[in-house]
């Protein structure tokens, strides 16, 4: 089912989505926010550029954007899949607790901020290009993978993993040159890590038409919180 959303307000679009078939194509999207907020069982393709907070609180729906996306994609997402065939704006996947966000291009500032995980719910975000500053800030769980494809080796800007206290960030290729906080340790990915990455990359490569072996044919570095050196404030009871 195709819906032409030219000139429609976001609430009208979401109303139409709620009433539509499970498989929908939105055409003529131009900056409308909050698309598919909290939605469960839809499969939505978007032609054009959706506005901020695409798929916030997403709860199982899958969204494909044939273009770029803006800020706060997948805010507090619980389940589902968001595929971006271009670049993504700031604060992608804020506090996401489940599901997948696959980005072909670059991510803006604060990607994956405060991502978390619980038991078998482990969210994952794969960024094909490079990430902006404050990647994985306050990360509490989940997995971020930065591939640095077609970026001349650039992986991430300043202050990655500030406040990180859980989860993992993988970087492909030469380890990033950015300065990491002393509460985070960087190591070469282990075989177990590589097995995990491979599993994730298979689907990613297929979606964006990459050769998975080419992607995997590079060293990966993994950033995790340093359990020997956690963030802590010394308190005294008063």
């Amino acid at each position: 089912m195709m819906i032409d959303v030219t000139g429609l307000e976001f609430n009208e679009i979401n109303q139409k989505l709620r009433e539509s078939d499970n498989k929908v194509i939105l055409q003529g999207c131009l900056g409308q926010r909050f698309i598919a907020s909290g939605m469960k069982d839809k499969n939505i393709a978007i032609d054009g550029i959706p506005g901020n907070a695409l798929g916030a609180y997403l709860n199982g729906a899958s969204i494909t954007v044939n273009g770029n996306a803006q800020d706060a994609v997948g805010d507090t997402m619980n389940d589902g899949k968001i595929i971006i065939h271009g670049d993504i704006g700031d604060a992608a996947g804020y506090a996401m607790r489940g599901g997948k966000i696959y980005i072909k291009g670059n991510a803006g500032y604060r990607a994956g901020i405060h991502m978390k995980e619980y038991q078998d719910k482990v969210p994952i975000m794969i960024i094909g290009g490079s990430a902006g500053s404050f990647l994985g800030e306050y990360q509490a769980g989940g997995v971020i993978v930065v591939l640095g494809l077609n970026t001349n080796g650039k992986l991430v800007s300043n202050f990655p993993c500030t406040g990180m206290h859980g989860g993992k960030v993988y970087f492909r290729g030469e380890p990033p040159k950015s300065v990491f906080p002393k509460n985070v340790c960087l190591k070469l990915a282990t075989q177990e890590d590589m097995k995990y990455i491979e599993k994730q990359i298979v689907e990613y490569a297929e979606i964006f038409g990459y050769n998975k072996d080419e992607i995997l044919n590079a060293p990966f570095t993994v950033a995790t919180p340093d359990s020997n050196n956690p963030y802590k404030q010394m308190y005294v009871a008063n």
Binding site: F10, F34, S37, A53, T76, D90, Y138, H165, M234, N238
Partner: protein
């Protein structure tokens, strides 16, 4: 090791009454009381006593009392006892001072400097026992004018509203900072009273979804336990931007408290720290706030009012004006005397402003700008009695949030050591043997009693003024007079001085 200073409290045991039944020993999680096996006498280590009065209450022979020690440093109006002790504590530990519950410092309490009017001669007072008196209020955006269709019928399409049987709700306290039994007491009492309680930022325990119609679910910067089902479970969603006891800083529930159900409800692994960053990292402007408000409205299909909670700080009127334009339905303002499970002492005692001034300033600003009907105003941060409620309503509030008063009803003795997790009254703890001490049935009964009593008092106070509904009292500042206040304070409160 030498004592840093003489203990603050002394345990006084009347040896003639003590029967060495060891109840005090079992009741004190701080391990103050022990028995001397040789002599069979009870001993006490008062260095550990926090004056929570648990042992005093339960001693069957009334043999115990806790008194403030009269062993003090040499008197000094500048370097008072507490100040000196704080220096010692920090010099020995290098730590940031951590406290709990509300600001205990002797700042002015404006509620106590405001007097309420009563009718005499020129308009009759009303007897609430014999005449109808309405305490019901509705919270949410109100239309600013009546619209009619071609036939002249009123078009009746109100934005979502919360209906309260009286202008009081239980404010946010997270599961984790308080116990399961405390949450259960609040939830069941709210249901029986026809008001609301608030989950705080720790998610909603699966057992309490059934009380959803009387629940406000909170979304804070850490987004713990937030998912679509949670948002839809509540009657309203509250975005927590700030808290009166600690404006400008986030929360940190240490991993040691993230166990069992608390971990499941927050949806984070056991033993991992629950960190709520100080800001929402996606909100740097009113425009950004609008985005969170509308994403929540979309996710809940416009069926629930969205509350934005902020701490009372400088420029609160301008901040509230922005929030009122963000699409929020209700603004909650939390004053600097509001309670907390843990806050750095310096922040609790020095940051923020009294809610009375914040409320008066906000209500005036929104009226001046013609946007007062865009939002309802809820105020908290130490509402202690029915008269505080009446004064708040007359200053412009639609309803009040109470937390400390509710905890007192549950048995809290304001020992201000919630941060230790060893609350002997079963409230601010997750230790099973302590949680058990709070019976949720009795807890509910006490909360209901308190609110029922307040409702009677609110009616009596209103009746005295010749006012028969809370709606009429709202913003009726002519019913208030200040006592012992400066011109400036009266100007901000928008009231005259007593005698005028």
């Amino acid at each position: 090791m030498a004592l840093l200073f003489y203990p603050e409290f002394e345990v006084v045991r009347n040896e003639n009454r003590c029967i060495a039944c060891r109840v005090c020993e079992r009741q004190c999680a701080n391990e103050v009381h022990t028995i001397d096996s040789e002599s069979g006498l009870m001993l006490s280590d008062e260095t550990k006593c926090v004056n929570c009065q648990r042992c005093v209450s339960l001693c069957p022979t009334r043999a115990l009392k806790i008194v403030k020690s009269d062993c003090t440093f040499r008197e000094n109006a500048n370097w008072q006892d507490d100040t000196i002790k704080e220096i010692y504590k920090q010099a020995h530990s290098g730590g940031v001072l951590l406290s709990s519950m509300g600001n205990p410092k002797p700042f002015p309490v404006y509620w106590d400097k405001i007097l309420i009017n009563a009718s005499q001669v020129t308009n009759p007072s009303i007897d609430p026992l014999r005449e109808p008196m309405e305490t019901k209020v509705f919270l949410g955006k109100k239309p600013s004018r009546i619209e009619r269709d071609e036939k002249g019928n009123i078009k009746f399409k109100l934005p979502p509203q919360l209906e309260l049987s009286m202008p009081v709700m239980f404010s946010a306290m997270s599961y984790g900072s308080i116990s399961y039994n405390a949450h259960k007491s609040l939830a069941t009492a709210a249901e029986e009273l026809g008001i609301y309680y608030n989950t705080g930022e720790g998610g909603l325990h699966e057992d309490f979804y059934v009380y959803g119609e009387n629940t406000i679910v909170q979304v804070a910067s850490g987004r713990f336990g937030v998912h679509e089902g949670y948002l839809k479970a509540g009657a309203a969603v509250e975005i927590k931007m700030g808290q009166g006891a600690k404006p400008g800083i986030g929360g940190h529930l240490p991993g040691t408290k993230i166990v069992g159900d608390v971990s499941r409800t927050r949806m984070i692994p056991e033993g991992s720290d629950a960190i709520s960053p100080a800001p929402h990292h996606d909100i740097y402007s009113i425009e950004d706030l609008r985005q969170l408000v509308y994403s929540l409205k979309e996710a809940t299909e416009y069926k629930k009012p969205i509350i934005v909670k902020v701490a009372a700080v400088h420029n609160i009127a301008a901040i509230a004006s922005g929030i009122a334009r963000s699409g929020a339905d209700i603004i909650a303002i939390d004053g600097f005397r509001g309670g907390t499970g843990a806050a750095p002492t310096r922040i609790r005692d020095n940051v923020g402003i009294p809610v009375e001034l914040a409320l008066a300033a906000v209500d005036k600003r929104l009226r001046d700008e013609g946007i007062r009907n865009n939002v309802s105003l809820v105020v908290g941060g130490s509402i202690r009695s029915a008269s505080d409620v009446v004064k708040a309503v007359a200053l412009g509030a639609d309803a009040c949030y109470v937390a400390t008063a509710a905890l007192l009803a549950l048995g809290c003795h304001l020992c201000r050591t919630c941060q230790t997790g060893k609350c002997n009254w079963g409230i601010a703890t997750q230790r099973e043997e302590l949680v058990k001490r709070l019976n949720p049935e009795i807890g509910k009964e006490h909360l209901v009693n308190l609110m029922v009593a307040w409702r009677h008092e609110i009616k009596e106070l209103m009746g005295g003024m010749g006012i028969n509904s809370v709606e009429v009292l709202r913003g009726n500042r002519l019913m208030l007079r200040g006592i012992g206040l400066t011109e400036k304070e009266l100007e901000i409160l928008g009231i005259s001085h007593a005698g005028e």
